[in-house]
């Protein structure tokens, strides 16, 4: 049974649910069976959030096994590390180079960066996607740019992502997100 999965991790309010829905629809349009899990218990209050999209010919479990996740999209560095045990040597990780502070704790960014860089997966792309998003005129586009980049490593044709963005996002956000997606997709040349 060949199942691939994309794990989305971050902090409440990061837009992980929307990003994972886009991927779920892209996989379905590409003809795969899809299961997705999301946990939003206390996420609204700034806790950790994760969502997982699993696709293949037939998918039963909506959640992943430790060491089995092929693709990860992390909107924040501490959360990426928190879920590291789900990765393996073949994983592709796209992580937004930022840290969301935790109340009452001081996080040493150098140490976190060191841990991120030493992770040892096949491909680690750490970048300030927030800057890219601001260049495109909206700081909330980071996730879509990251998706565009990640999509190049997945066995799902770009056209299905385009359709999925149209399906998921409200009218007024469609065009700008399509732009952000192809911007991200083109970034992959830098990381080939």
């Amino acid at each position: 049974m060949n199942i691939n999965s994309v794990l989305f991790v971050g902090v409440g309010g990061d837009g992980i649910i929307t990003a994972s829905n886009v991927v779920a629809y892209a996989c379905m349009f590409a003809g795969f069976d899809v299961k997705k899990s999301e946990i939003h218990g206390m996420s609204q209050r700034g806790g950790s959030v994760s969502a997982s999209v699993r696709y293949g010919d037939k998918v039963y479990s909506p959640t992943d096994k430790i060491g089995s996740v092929r693709f990860m999209l992390a909107t924040e560095k501490v959360e990426m590390l928190r879920w590291a045990q789900y990765l393996n040597k073949n994983s592709v990780v796209v992580v937004n180079d930022r840290i969301v502070p935790i109340i009452g704790q001081t996080i040493e960014e150098d140490k976190i960066d060191e841990m991120v860089e030493n992770i040892g997966v096949e491909k680690l792309i750490k970048r300030r996607f927030v800057d890219d998003a601001n260049n495109l005129g909206n700081s909330r586009l980071s996730n879509t740019i990251m998706l565009g980049l990640l999509s190049n490593f997945m066995d799902i044709d770009e056209k299905y992502f385009v359709d999925a963005i149209d399906q998921i996002l409200p009218d007024k956000l469609r065009t700008i997100n399509q732009t952000a997606f192809s911007y991200g997709s083109r970034l992959s040349e830098e990381y080939a």
């Binding site: 379905m28 997705k36 899990s37 700034g46 501490v78």
Partner: protein, 591 residues
């Protein structure tokens, strides 16, 4: 009309509401609770349906039962602990039976993602002697929900459909024909004294009807297609249901599997036949050994909880571990490449600007001689450090009543009960009456943010609008409390920190009963509230860290100076009030 199949990715909860509509339910009621809340939130969008929030699960359950007796197919939704609140009508509605179909949806929470316990509500089906249906994914959630409406009328019984967090909040591909069942019978309101009035004389004969119905269900459960064998190649067999089924199928694609969808009463005869050709049978089920016990009572030779945990949520790794213990797989395929890293936890926190924050900061600062009985809602986060101002949380509504007991049992500690508005309407009113008639010496704080915030912002009777977004006159808690006869009742704007602190201090120290109602609304729902943010004047910050003690996510410390994230700050000014230095925290434009 031509057949048009719809293909969508749906959550379990969306699917349940579609199943209800396709099963011709036209009345839905319930009380919010994670992970069940979205079912009615989707159902309300259908044309010609009544969908409404009740003040608690008992009221929601009974409203749906009333609709059923009046001839309309109905259902009630709630989280697992909600069925405790509705247990009274559940037990006796089994005796009355239904007129039009009536389905009870309970969404359990193995793993306690957002709950105070992880009780397994399958036990309720056996307790009440009603059928239990358990889907395992969104497609089944839709199909089985629709099916439940057929079973309910066929056997004249309420039917329990049990979901779990992982089913309700997982998404899957669902293909369906949007048309509804064509078995509607145009039922009329039914007046039947012997069936619906449970005085002892009638209940005695109805209990016999229940037992008779149970015998018929014991036959039916062996015939229904939702209890089925999936043939494999192994010498052993697995019996499983609900989410656990998915883990088994993925880990043991070649095994013989008996998938149970109708799990009370258990399909004992069909399983007896399944077992007869196999060497060994292992039951894989999350939480309680519910199926295992039923099968063992029937004298079947099965194993189960010997290998699997009784607590927590299952996942592929846990089920694989259990299957290995049972000797059904040789080697675990899990390869731990990266071990778990030591990282700071990210606990949930009250939102920046949350109106609950100043109350807990004040209670904390009033000292150690106060015993604070708490309740359930966003404000339960007031128990965590650094606010640390809540000493009990048991179930909804318990704050006031436990405070009554604590105030009678001792007099060294002053007693303060803290409860939210939705929780007050849910089960806080009778405890308030208890406090009044039994003359409790305590202060009750009703945090009136005018919304059920914790579960995603559903309206409550004080909100002024309904589930279907209709404007209504809100109930003012102040008037309700006053009408009981309690004299010392105050409404207060808690962003006015000093006044609030003085009022709380005075009232807590005075003997007798008083009720304080802070009235600032939630900053997240029904609409986001964001005022001009505040800034820290760096030169004036003396590094005392007082502002950190209010646990606002907008405040951070860098290089021994406080900084405020202006994107997050809502401008509530609470940090400014607690800061000991005049002018160190100011409104942004004044800089």
């Amino acid at each position: 009309m031509g057949l048009k199949i719809i293909k969508k990715i749906l959550s379990g909860n969306q699917a349940i509401s579609i199943g209800a509509y396709k099963g011709n339910a036209r009345f839905g009621s319930g009380y919010p609770g994670t992970p069940s809340s979205e079912i009615l939130e989707h159902f309300k969008n259908y044309p010609n349906v009544t969908a409404q929030w009740a003040p608690n699960e008992k009221a929601g359950f009974e409203a749906a039962l009333g609709a059923s007796i009046a001839g309309t197919r109905s259902f009630a939704t709630m989280k697992h602990v909600g069925l405790n609140v509705a247990a009274d009508p559940l037990m006796t509605s089994s005796y009355t039976g239904v007129n039009a179909s009536f389905v009870v949806v309970t969404a359990d929470d193995p793993g306690m993602h957002s709950s105070q316990n992880e009780q397994d509500n399958r036990r309720y089906a056996k307790f009440a002697k009603v059928p239990l249906i358990e889907p395992s994914d969104p497609f089944e959630a839709m199909a089985f929900m629709q099916y439940a409406f057929i079973v309910s009328e066929k056997f004249d019984t309420p039917v329990i459909v049990r979901s779990t967090t992982r089913i309700s909040h997982s998404l899957g591909v669902v293909q369906f024909d949007p048309r509804t069942l064509d078995n509607e019978q145009n039922l009329k309101l039914q007046k039947d004294f012997r069936k619906y009035v449970m005085i002892p004389a009638n209940a005695i004969s109805r209990h016999k009807v229940v037992l008779d119905r149970l015998e018929k269900l014991r036959v039916f459960t062996n015939e229904t297609p939702i209890n089925k064998v999936e043939k494999g190649k192994t010498s052993f067999g697995i019996i499983t249901s609900s989410m656990a089924y998915n883990y088994v199928k993925e880990l043991l694609p070649d095994a013989h599997v008996f998938k149970v969808g109708f799990s009370y009463p258990m399909p004992v005869e069909k399983i007896r036949e399944f077992i007869s050709k196999l060497d060994r049978i292992v039951v894989v089920e999350e939480l309680e050994p519910f199926m295992e016990e039923e099968l063992k009572i029937a004298g079947l030779n099965v194993e189960g909880k010997k290998y699997f945990p009784y607590d927590g949520e299952f996942n592929l790794d846990i089920v694989e571990e259990g299957l290995k213990k049972a000797g059904l797989i040789k080697e675990k395929t899990t390869k731990v490449v990266f071990s778990e890293l030591k990282l700071p936890k990210r606990p949930p926190a009250l939102c920046p600007g949350c109106p609950h924050r100043p109350i807990f900061d004040i209670l904390h600062s009033l000292g150690k001689d106060i015993f604070i009985t708490g309740d359930i809602g966003c404000y339960t986060l007031g128990c965590l450090p650094p606010l640390s101002a809540m000493h009990t949380t048991v179930c909804m509504g318990a704050s006031i009543s436990m405070g009554v007991g604590a105030s009678k049992a001792q007099s060294e500690q002053k007693v303060v009960a803290v409860i939210g508005d939705s929780t007050f309407f849910h089960t806080g009113i009778q405890p308030l009456i208890d406090a009044y008639v039994n003359n409790a010496n305590m202060t009750i704080i009703i945090l009136d943010n005018r919304i059920t915030a914790m579960t995603g912002g559903q309206p409550d009777p004080g909100s002024g609008f309904t589930l279907k977004n209709k404007q209504v006159k809100p109930i003012r808690i102040y008037d309700l409390v006053k009408s009981i006869g309690i004299e010392r009742v105050y409404e207060i704007d808690q962003y006015n920190y000093e006044n609030t602190k003085k009022l709380l201090k005075d009232e807590i120290n005075k003997p007798g009963l008083s009720v304080i109602i802070p009235t600032r609304p939630c900053v997240l729902a029904p609409r986001k509230i964001k005022d001009t943010p505040l800034v820290v004047v760096s030169d004036k910050c003396v590094d005392c860290k007082r502002c950190l003690r209010i646990a606002c996510p907008a405040i951070d410390f860098k290089n021994n100076k406080a900084i405020i994230n202006e994107m997050l700050c809502t401008g509530c000014e609470v940090c400014m009030h607690v800061c000991p230095v005049e002018g160190a925290i100011i409104k942004k434009e004044e800089k």
